[in-house]
Amino acid sequence: MTVLVYAEHDNVELKPATLAVVNAGLQIDGDVHVLVAGHQARAIADSASQIAGVSKVLLADNAAFANQLAENVAPLVAELSANYSHILAPATTTGKNFLPRVSALLDVNMVSDIIKVIDKNTFLRPIYAGNAIATVQDNENKIIATVRATAFDLAVATGGNASIESVSVGADSGKSVFVKEELAKSARPELTSASVIVSGGRALASGENFTKYIEPLADKLGAAVGASRAAVDAGFVPNDLQVGQTGKIVAPNLYIAAGISGAIQHLAGMKDSKTIVAINTDPDSPIASVADYFLEADLFEALPELTAKL
């Protein structure tokens, strides 16, 4: 029984979600290997080998893996699967994209977005936008699952001394070609791993107001900026800031929701935050039912005051 964890990275740095998945892997079995599939990704493999508890790192370095295209990555993982009882990947857009493909290649069903490990084949996962929690038992001959990173503590990033082994399998499938990537640039912490998040909703009324009211508070708190779907659809902020069932799932120490009503879809993405603050003019909005602290106020007055007084 050995667990293979797929490393999330961008060929430059190893993403913290990987540490959470390693921790989930260690809860299943003590023997965890990490697969780094990428291009010129030796530094990523070096980082992975430092993670406490990882016994081996597989490095698949090939131009075909540079952009983690599912058509190229899935056959690689399927081929390496023979030695493993479990294959885990973070429930990021990368993991969600290629892992079901691996699952079908191996002719097994898989489990998405696990939030707790009960034993080696029993897991908890949210369904219905987090409004119900299912306990599922996976009796497939190989267990394949994506892991919700925010539901697990991070494995310690240093202190490990895993060996690094190069694997030379895999090639370009020729079915898909990477064209371009447009990444939102931000000096703020990454949304899914930030310890504080300041989120804005429809009530912000414009993108300029995000810059004027939400961002100064976020900068003061060293926080990431999030948004509701309404704010994204109205074009106030780019879609990768969206928190919710269809956006990112976050669980920071402190989540400040300003001008967000709290639709089921949004709550699914943030209701596991440790402390939730809502600033809203409507005391009956659904966000009030999950907020630890509710400030009934106009955000255009309350946010500058809060920013100034912190």
């Binding site: 961008d10 599912a70 899935a74 990021t92 857009t93 990368t94 969600k96 892992l99 079901p100 493909r101 699952s103 079908a104 097994v108 069903n109 998405s112 949210p126 369904i127 219905y128 936008a129 987090g130 409004n131 119900a132 929690i133 299912a134 306990t135 599922v136 038992q137 009796n139 497939e140 898909s176 070609v177 990477f178 064209v179 990537e181 447009e182 990444l183 899914t192 708190l221 779907r229 659809d233 879609n239 990768d240 269809t246 402190l254 089921i264 879809q265 209701k271 440790k274 939730i276 603050v277 005391p283 039912s289 999950v290 630890d292 602290y293 509710f294 400030l295 106020a297 007084k309 912190l310």
Partner: protein, 249 residues
């Protein structure tokens, strides 16, 4: 070019679901059922491809109980030409659905297969990717823009850091994200006309698929409730509570 769209019947997204007392699942009896919102977007995209003259025929397909025919009629009212109901009363797991869809794609010789990125009940986000693997085609998941260009399709995908554009060889499987389009509402004459459009019924065994899965749901429970919070009267009180009570800042 023939386009196949897979749709799923789910509890309407506005319904607050209730977990059954015996923990066997959520209460679906009497709950309002609808087309999964991501599937509606897939239907809309297929119909737009037809309106642009790119798609010659749009075929909607679902796997589910006999009542799923209602959701196929919705797809027909929105502009699909024909529908196929693969009828089963058993729980449909993504791999089994993908195997059935593979059979349908092959018998229909579809060039483009559109699905939603996930169903809002099981929240799996698996079926499209599995289907693509079984067919051995390319995949464009979480699509926010789809441009068919000869024998290729250019797909803009929503990824964690922003957007990624890929060019896929046809045939391809594409799963839709919310921002791909704004689904239209069916007009009454179209709803009437949809009743006359062909709807064919098949069974999983027609495609050599058995519905059983090695994954079982042991129980379904309500999530832990958050304790009721407190109202604070001023920004000062909020800062005080965050500093001294929650120790969050």
């Amino acid at each position: 070019m023939k386009v196949l769209v897979a749709v799923k019947r789910v509890i309407d997204h506005n319904v607050k679901v209730r977990v059954k007392a015996d923990e066997s699942g959520v209460e679906t009896a009497n709950a309002k059922m609808s087309v999964n919102p991501f599937c509606e977007i897939a239907i809309e995209e297929a119909v737009r491809l037809k309106e642009k003259g790119i798609a010659s025929e749009v075929v909607a397909v679902t796997v589910g109980g006999s009542q799923s025919a209602e959701q196929l009629r919705s797809a027909l009212a929105l502009g699909a030409d024909r529908a196929i109901l693969v009828e089963t009363d058993e729980k449909a797991y993504p791999l089994q659905v993908a195997k059935i869809l593979k059979g349908v794609v092959e018998s229909e010789s579809a060039d483009l297969i559109l699905l939603g990125k996930q169903a809002i009940d099981d929240d799996n986000n698996q079926t499209g990717q599995m289907l693509s693997a079984l067919l051995g085609t390319s995949q464009g998941t979480f699509a926010s823009e789809v441009v068919v260009n000869g024998d290729k399709v250019v797909v803009t995908r929503e990824i964690d850091g922003g957007l990624q554009t890929v060019e896929l060889a046809l045939p391809a499987v594409i799963t839709t994200d919310l921002r791909l389009n704004e689904p239209r509402f069916p007009k009454l004459p179209n709803i009437m006309a949809a009743k006359k459009k062909p709807l064919e019924t098949k069974t999983p065994s027609d495609f050599g698929v058995t519905m059983s899965s090695n994954i079982t749901t042991l129980k379904v429970q309500a999530p832990a409730e958050r304790g009721a919070g407190v109202k604070v009267a001023s920004v000062d009180e909020l800062i005080d509570k965050l500093k001294n009570e929650a120790k969050a800042i």
